[in-house]
Symmetry: C2
DNA sequence: AATTGATATGAATATCTATTCATGATCTTG
DNA sequence: CAAGATCATGAATAGATATTCATATCAATT
């Protein structure tokens, strides 16, 4: 029961960041290259890269090579199909729809 | 749009902690005194108190004096009435039901 | 194969958050 | 009202996370 919470907290930490939320919002609309994402956010190149890694390791986004660029897309799970604009953390479901 | 995310991230940070999740779980069942909460969690007295303040300031719990003890209860919002075992952050809804 | 473009990685640092410790406040009871 | 019980607060520290900077990787192009 405490271990479950630790796991859940860990996943929430991934989302509890302005930059990562912005990235997710962007990718929830459509897949984008790193450069395109940063055209919107205007961050230090490496900083965005670090945040993308965190999102990747959390399984929230996936990357595929596309020429010299890399294309990122939001990973939607089965549970999300029923749940509109939401993010499935396994432990809980974060829904943004009003 | 970035400010909204900043606000949302701030609220998620409150939840992104093992101890605070545990406290919320406990209080979602029924109101409890600080001592009762700590009978379950077994933390340093002041540490629990610090976490309770964070939850209070986020509007997730409320405290009322009860003799020399203090009774805490989970604050449920209207939006939650439709949403079973969930936490309303204003910016988004966290649901724990499976 | 050398150069350029696009992204990732690692180490160093800065910033924030959790934890502890000592102390203060509030209520009850003898 | 002094003492004990319960909880809160503040300052100090430890620990974690974000940010920067320099460098590495990988693919395309010349």
């Amino acid at each position: 029961m405490d271990k479950l919470n630790a796991n859940c907290a860990e996943k929430l930490k991934v989302l509890a960041d302005t930059t990562r939320l912005s990235v997710l919002q962007i990718l929830m609309q459509e897949p984008k290259h790193v450069g395109e994402i940063n055209a919107v956010l205007g961050l230090e190149q490496s900083l965005l890269s670090h945040h993308l890694r965190i999102l990747r390791e959390a399984g929230l986004v996936e990357a595929t090579r596309d020429g010299k660029a890399v294309l990122y897309h939001f990973v939607s799970t089965t549970r999300q199909k029923n749940a509109g604009r939401a993010i499935d953390l396994g432990c809980c479901l974060l829904s943004f729809e009003e």
